[in-house]
Amino acid sequence: MKQPSLWHVLQPKWRTALQRMREERDRGGRGKLIVLTVVGALFWFAVFGVLYVILKYLRGVEELGALIPNKILGLVLLSFISILVLSNVITALSSFFLAKDLDLLVSAPVDWLRLYLAKLGETLLHSSWMVALMAVPILAAYGVIYRGGVLFIPYAILVVVPLLLLPAVVGTAVTLVLVNVFPARRTRDLLSIIAIMLFRIIRPEQLARPEGFRNLLDFVTVLRTPTSPFLPSEWATKAIMGYLRHDIDPLSLVLLWTTAAAFVTLGALLHRALFPQGFTKAQEGAERFIRGGFWRWTIGGLLKHLPVAKREFVLKDVRLFFRDTTQWSQLILLAVLVVVYVFNIQALPLHRGEAVGFYYVTLVSFLNLALAGFVLAAIAARFVFPAVSLEGRQMWLLRSSPLDLRALLWSKYWVGTIPLLILALLLTGITNVMLEVTPFMMITSMVAMFALTLAISAMALAFGAAYPQFETENAAQIPTSFGGLVFMMATIALLAAVTLSLWQAVYTYVRAVYDGAPLVIDAWMIGWFAVAAALCAAATVIPLRMALRKIETFEF
């Protein structure tokens, strides 16, 4: 029998994507696309600009200047493949075992290889497109600084493709083995262990704290040694830097491609051996019988003063979150993000050795506020943004019941906001303690972070309602949709506006301390604090109202 082509097997996916684009265009999405392109391009230029400045500076530094760009690229690529392995593990779980098209594909006479390749491609695309986009300005900065020329573009693609393919195969294989070997309950613990191990391989703190080395020679020695000679990121770094320094190393490129080919082959064989059994196990599930009333006694008890509709709604959302693998597994990505962030703050050489100016510390604590805001936005995109979309198919029940939609919105908002608030205040508090900021800055950033979290959460919910993905089968894919990107960009704009307003307010204080003058709280300072507060309040109230109006118009 003639087998259908891969393109044909994937037809429902790409046709759906095309149809969505068409619908978006018909709804007047062209304007949105232009905004997205412009803001995306600005973001690219910002990443490009920062790296360009750093690389240009390093080129002028003797000895270290030649080594550090290699190391930076190596670390960036290593971070990429680590994140990619994790995100492929999570994506593969849904594309290989939970997707709705699997019943059809598995029951149809499609051979195992085609099924594997189609699903591998789908997994790769879903988990890697953001990383691939992020790599563009980074590689462009290297290409421009080292004058790689136009041919560097196809060469870089040639290097990046196997680098994306390898984590996809590994992630898929890990999921395949996990589903086969461990019951669903244990998968959770195992994924956490993998995340921690991956993070330990990166060891970013080693390089970020040069004073930890006995002398410069030690530091240079570490820079010269590859992070790990067996890691594909190291081969990719060698291949790229070799090309840019006109010292092409074909072995690295050959290693990348042959390893990728070998891994795909091995992955396919593993799939043939383990998929049928794993697929069956995934259908059976291991955690279906639930008698305990853990959430009912804990959260239900805490919320017992609330009206029953709100309480049951919150309980339902919490239960669904912790029982849905595609949702809770994202907590691992979140943990990695937070740990990397705190590590980086800790590694800043602000209070080591000679005293650093107060001005510098305040500036860094300000950047910290913006960065923590960005981390929170990323987390809100993962956990709050999908909230409305996830009701999708059950909306018939909510709309036909006398549930006040404000209660629905209220529950969704606070279920997302309270954990976010705890995390935000902890993150800001801990990093500010590490930075040894003044009490004034501590209070300012804590209050600002509190207000920003309320706003970010409201915006996540509103953009999630404005760009719902009711048909999605994987919660992890909702934040990477068009609406998710628009939300991230809108949040970055809010963060920039609030941080700038606060800077205007705090600048008077910084100057007063710097000059040794007494602090005067004047109308200028109060005015800018008021602007920041008004921005946060508007970004909380307006989106929530818009979300309510949007939910009221949903039709099913």
């Binding site: 669904l320 029940l397 036909s400």
Partner: protein, 252 residues
């Protein structure tokens, strides 16, 4: 109890429901019949407040579903044709959640849940996640959820799909008793035998319009159908009598 006034629904330029007016009195089991795509489900979803009509209004016990949604919906139990429920909740958690949506809790709800699970033979499945349920079991769970708050009227889309004969019989008995006690049921169905055996009144819908309404005897009389069966009457009114030879369709 249920009153539709000039109900119209447009999807772009497509008219899904075209100026339907109907009155379903208290204590009546009313059947909505019609071929696929006639507009039955759209009508029922507008009654349940899930879809907003382009024109016209829906009154449940005197309350407009879209003007006073909360008081109107308190009277309603809606059973959709496709049993989408939260896969990651257990049966008992789902029923408790639905009761909460209607502001009900406590021992009386727990007793009601136990009672409904017992009636629909789901007691042994009550602590299993819904994802493990068969299509028919999900349907039974949704029917239980529609009954949990003791509604005054039930709107049900294709109630018998996926049910085993025993459950189908049980449902018929439940609906009949519900109506005998003064409740109101509006159901859509393709199964004409079911409609003929169960419904006090029917409406036949085609292309979004009501083409016939009343008791089966009324409709027969009005369309001079003599003693013909409801199936023949249905095919006559909906123009579905031209069926290709089975052999040709099967390609034998």
């Amino acid at each position: 109890m249920i009153r539709l006034e000039n109900l119209t629904k447009l999807y772009g330029s497509f008219v899904a429901v075209d100026d339907i007016s109907l009155h379903v009195p208290r204590g009546v089991l009313y059947g909505c019949l019609g071929p696929n795509g006639a507009g039955k489900t759209t009508t029922l979803r507008m009654i349940a407040g899930i879809l907003r009509p382009t024109q016209g209004r829906v009154l449940l016990g005197g309350d407009d579903v879209h003007v006073n949604p909360l008081s109107a919906k308190m009277r309603l139990g809606f059973i959709p044709d496709r049993p989408f429920v939260y896969d990651k909740l257990t049966g008992v958690e789902f029923l408790r959640f639905v009761a909460g949506l209607y502001g009900q809790e406590g021992d009386s709800v727990e007793r009601r849940i136990a009672e409904l699970l017992e009636v629909f033979e789901l007691t042994s499945w009550q602590n299993e996640l819904v994802e493990a349920y068969s299509h028919g079991m999900r349907q039974k769970l949704i029917i239980s959820s529609a009954l949990i708050h003791r509604p005054e009227c039930i709107v049900v889309d294709e109630p018998m799909v996926g049910l085993d004969p025993k459950a189908a019989r049980l449902l018929k008995d439940i609906f009949r008793q519900f109506v005998d006690k003064g409740g109101t049921v509006l159901m859509s169905t393709h199964t004409l035998e079911v409609a003929e055996a169960m419904c006090d009144q029917i409406a036949i819908i085609q292309h979004g319009k009501v083409v016939a309404a009343g008791t089966v005897a009324d409709v027969r009389r009005e369309h001079q159908a003599g003693t013909s069966s409801l199936e023949e009457l249905f095919l006559k009114l909906t123009g579905g009598a031209h069926v290709k030879a089975l052999v040709e369709v099967l390609g034998a």
